[in-house]
């Protein structure tokens, strides 16, 4: 199984969620994060003093999926999180050794 972790623009969350659901993904976990990257933030002026906003609000989503679905999921995230502008975010894929559904104790693919 794979864990697909994507850092995306916050206003894309719902679109991405819907796309993944359409793909048969049954769940995901989202979290508000702050991102630093090429999209350097910007200068702002507050009370006459200029300062750099280094971190930009992003949303991080974690989706655990069976390995065979992983590629499709990455693709769909790209399709729906993309605005073609800097700061669209990254996707990280890692291996998960085990998944358990707390309610039932089911493991692996059954747990998803």
């Amino acid at each position: 199984m794979k864990m697909i972790t994507a850092v995306i623009k916050p206003f894309k969350l719902d679109e991405v969620r819907e796309a993944l659901v359409a793909l048969g993904v049954n769940g995901l976990t989202a979290c508000e994060v702050k991102g630093y990257g090429r999209q350097k933030g910007h200068k702002e002026i507050y009370r006459g003093a200029e300062y750099a906003v280094s971190f930009i609000p992003k949303v991080r989503i974690d989706v655990a999926v069976p390995t065979d679905l992983a590629e499709k999921v990455v693709e769909e995230i790209i399709n729906h999180a993309k605005t073609d502008q800097i700061g669209d975010g990254k996707i990280f894929v890692t291996s998960i050794e085990n998944v358990v559904r707390i309610r039932t104790g089911e493991t692996d693919a059954d747990a998803l």
């Binding site: 507050y46 006459g48 003093a49």
Partner: protein, 437 residues
């Protein structure tokens, strides 16, 4: 309490003129009715000025980081408490006693002396002694409120309260006696209707000396010359604070007419309301326009400070200006705020909420502007008053800050400051549930 001249002598020409021109009508109102009206003005005016304590608190809590928000709340409610107690213990006598031209009197424990009125001898222009005390007390508290905002996020609680006690019990009353107690400044023709200098600048001087001695917050002035920016945690609460202050200012300036017992007084208070409102409005718009012009964007916090700048500017003379002049005086106040905020940064003076631009600078401006509309005022006396109050409050405040610094210490430790005073001084959090970055 002996009879005191109060602000009467100080009201200067404006009132005199209007008093004279309306005198034919004055005779009509029964002295006891006048007595009630005057007392009512003090009480209702005093109530809304009291509420300014909430306004300062909300403005400041909105402008600090959330890790210091509970502490600033505690400072604001306790400084208001202390101001009332100190003004009762010594302040009022020191300000309005008749000892000499430099201080009022050294008696302690104020008590109302209404024996005359209670015995049925009610003179024209009378009012309940307590109504006057209440009204004067809330002014004293206002001066103290100014200090807390500037020094926020790094000053320790108890030393701050110790300073507040001396400020409200001694420093404020002494300089207040010079003018509103009928002292030497008053005798020399200084004019400050509702306290641009005596309340706002006085508070501002106490704040600026504190800021210098206390030093800036960590990270505020960076080695490379850059300015650290710490955005306020809740601009909606800051905005609410300014609305409350704006409301309170009607009591502040309107009540400073000190009388509502005649048509002439009603007219004066009404015109003061209008000028106060227009100066604040102009302060907002001028600050917005200036920040749009200079920074290409409007800064809400500047607009908020602009309102206060306009209000402080009109406070020295809210009666004699025409509405058009009030707009102008307030607008200049609004511009001054926008210009002075970054100037303080250059001087490496760290004023968390912008109290120095709004109260000290605009207080000076407002005091200087009095002669523009009040023919009885003169620039020389105004300058003298500004300087005298500035020198006195700064000198005594400096001494007091230094004393506190070298005895109990005034500054939170580096780590306390980093973690926030709420956790280290109070052991709680203002918003314990909310995730802050």
């Amino acid at each position: 309490m002996k009879t005191t001249t109060k602000k009467f002598a100080a009201l200067g020409a404006a009132l005199l003129v209007s008093a004279l021109s309306v005198s034919p009508a004055l005779a009509a109102v029964d002295p006891e009715v006048e007595y009630v009206f005057n007392s009512l003005l003090f009480l209702v005016g005093g109530m809304v000025v009291m509420f300014m304590a909430a306004g300062f608190c909300m403005l400041e809590v909105g402008m600090v980081r959330s890790k210091n928000a509970a502490t600033i709340c505690l400072k604001n409610i306790s400084l208001y408490a202390i101001a009332g107690i100190m003004f009762y213990l010594v302040g009022y006598h020191l300000m309005y006693g008749q000892a000499n031209a430099y201080w009022g009197g050294l008696d302690i424990f104020w008590g109302a002396d209404d024996a005359g009125a209670l015995a049925g001898e009610i003179k024209a222009g009378g009012y309940a002694a307590g109504s006057d005390w209440f009204f004067q007390m809330v002014f004293c508290a206002t001066a103290a409120s100014i200090v807390s905002g500037t020094l926020a996020e790094r000053i320790k609680l108890w030393p701050f309260l110790a300073f507040t006690a001396i400020l409200t019990g001694i420093i404020y009353p002494i300089q207040g006696s010079w003018e509103w107690g009928g002292g030497w400044l008053d005798q020399l023709g200084f004019s400050d209707f509702a306290g641009s200098t005596l309340v706002h600048s006085a508070g501002g001087w106490a704040a600026i000396t504190g800021a210098v001695i206390l030093g800036a917050r960590q990270g505020k002035f960076l080695p490379n010359g850059q300015i650290g920016v710490f955005p306020g945690s809740s601009l909606p609460l800051a905005t609410l604070g300014v609305f409350i202050l704006w409301l309170g200012w009607f009591g502040f300036n309107g009540g400073s007419q000190l009388a509502l017992g005649s048509a002439g007084d009603a007219i004066a208070v009404s015109n003061i309301f209008i000028n106060t409102n227009l100066a604040a409005a102009a302060g907002v718009m001028a600050a917005m326009a200036t920040s749009q012009g200079v920074y290409k964007k409007v800064d809400l916090t500047m607009a908020l400070n602009g309102a206060i700048g306009g209000l402080v500017a009109i406070t020295a003379e809210p009666l004699t200006p025409t509405p058009g002049m009030a707009l102008l005086i307030g607008a200049i106040g609004g511009v001054l705020v926008v210009v002075t905020v970054p100037l303080l940064d250059k001087l490496k003076i760290d004023d968390v909420v912008g109290a120095i631009p709004a109260h000290l600078v605009c207080g000076i401006w407002g005091t200087l502007a009095v002669p523009l509309t009040n023919p009885e005022a003169n620039l020389g006396a105004q300058l003298l008053g500004i300087i005298a109050v500035g020198v006195f409050v700064s000198a005594v405040s400096t001494a007091l800050w230094l004393f506190l610094k070298h005895t109990i210490g005034i500054r939170a430790s580096e780590e306390e400051e980093l973690l926030g005073l709420d956790r280290t001084e109070l052991g709680l959090e203002a918003y314990p549930e909310f995730v802050s970055r």
